[in-house]
């Protein structure tokens, strides 16, 4: 199943889905050394974003968050790709400078169409998301 989406930052990657319906503040919300989510009360607290397809509504917080995404990448603990409902400039710029594929505005609600842990392929270059073979139910 292909879901069309809008390309923000180029590239393609696959990995297992890590989903939160809450906005993420990369500054203060994720440890840039380990990739572990530290946001108190988040449904993902204690989980690592490393190598995952991180699916969240959008980012919040200061412009420094762009640099935190870059630091995750340099420490090899960044998400493999990201999917947003609406990307705001901070996450957009963070993904671009870190070369992490990022799409937004998927034509189907990703919180319903995709489940935590499912294998997902993100093709930002061509603007779609796909569930990998074998993950169909």
């Amino acid at each position: 199943m292909k879901i069309k989406a809008h390309r923000i930052s180029k590239g393609r990657a696959s990995g297992s889905a890590l989903i939160t319906t809450e906005p993420i503040s990369f500054l203060g919300g994720i440890n840039p050394e380990t990739g572990v989510i530290t946001e108190k009360g988040s449904t993902l607290e204690g989980k690592s974003v490393s190598g995952k397809i991180l699916i969240f509504p959008g980012g919040i917080g200061s412009t420094v968050s762009s640099y935190v995404i870059y630091q995750l990448k340099k420490n090899n603990v960044a998400p493999a790709a990201m999917i947003n409902i609406h990307t705001e400039p901070i996450v957009a710029v963070g993904a671009i400078i870190s070369e992490i594929p990022l799409v937004d505005q998927p034509e189907k609600n990703p919180f319903e169409a995709i489940k935590n842990g499912e294998e997902i392929f993100v093709n930002a270059d061509e603007g779609y998301i796909e569930k990998s073979e074998g993950s169909y139910q």
């Binding site: 930052s9 640099y67 990307t87 957009a92 400078i97």
Partner: protein
Amino acid sequence: MYLTMDEEKIYGGESGETLATCMEILVTLGEIYGADRLIPVRSVQVAGVSYRTIGDAGLKWIRDLKAETRVPAILNPAGMDLKDWKKMGINEDFAERQLEIIQAYERLGVRPECTCAPYHVCRVAGFRDHLAWSESSAVSFANSVIGARTNREGAPSALAAALIGKTPNYGLHLDENRIPTLTIKVDGKLEGSDFGAVGHIAGPLVKNETPIFEFEVKPTPIELKQLGAAMAATGSVALYHVKKLTPESGLYPEPVEAITIEWSEIKEVYDCRCEPDLIAIGCPHIGPEELSRLAELLKDKQVKKELWIFTSRRLAKQHKEEVNQITKSGAKIFCDTCMVVSPASERFRCMMVNSGKALNYVPKICGVQCTLGTTEECIQKAVGEKR
């Protein structure tokens, strides 16, 4: 979004990885905000300078870039005076990292002048010029007082604009987003820091509107600087007009909606909240007139409390006589930084300021209580005179 052939080539990587990334930043932001094309900018002011703000991650990104600025680009204040940091009580580790950040920017061709008031030091903005500036008070001054055009850029997008020489055409670059939509009438014969107090009140009232002010008096550019800085801090307002004064005030029809700020509300902003152990002036960085005024107020006096004054290094160099007169009183002049972005302020308990902007940020960013006074009251407090 339309790109010229040259821009397409840069986007495609023909001019190297750094410029391709910069172009991608500009194009993506342009697409998010519905820009039709890129437009050339006259100058850039890059935020994201203080080590406290950008940390190791920011330093790493800047260091990894390989390109040269295409337009004049200067920096926002750093986390310390780049020369006199020891006198501020900054530790060696912080200083080392801070200097590395400055060097990394310099290597890209960004001038190592760190100021939130670039309009006091160089002519890099004129009426209708397109700019890519970052620091909120500078953005407000450029748009409102100079009549130049800039959005409030984030740190990487400003740097991208400096390296490409362009910015996406949206937001405040367009006439239609500069039209005043709310009149704010202000009561009273205001002067000096009163304008910062007005900005402090107006910020949250303005929301997404573009205000046009009606004052009983004619504010000076310095007073407008204080108004805009405070309003940008409490309400992220990047453009305002002042009736019969600012360059674009007569170009648009009058807004239908109007509100009034009363004199009594303005006085309340001064309600003393704490007894200061530090008096700090220079948010935003002071200009030549303010420097002369402070020199005059401090002539033949000795400060009994810490008095810190913040300005740009260039201005301090150009006005040695005033600087000497001020430092003779025991007051300290620091350059390249300010009380908000430097961790040096954190060891104090209560700071007295003459700035509506600092009044908002000092408690939030430095964790220090803050109280507002006029410039004269600040100096009286510092030299131990009764009000």
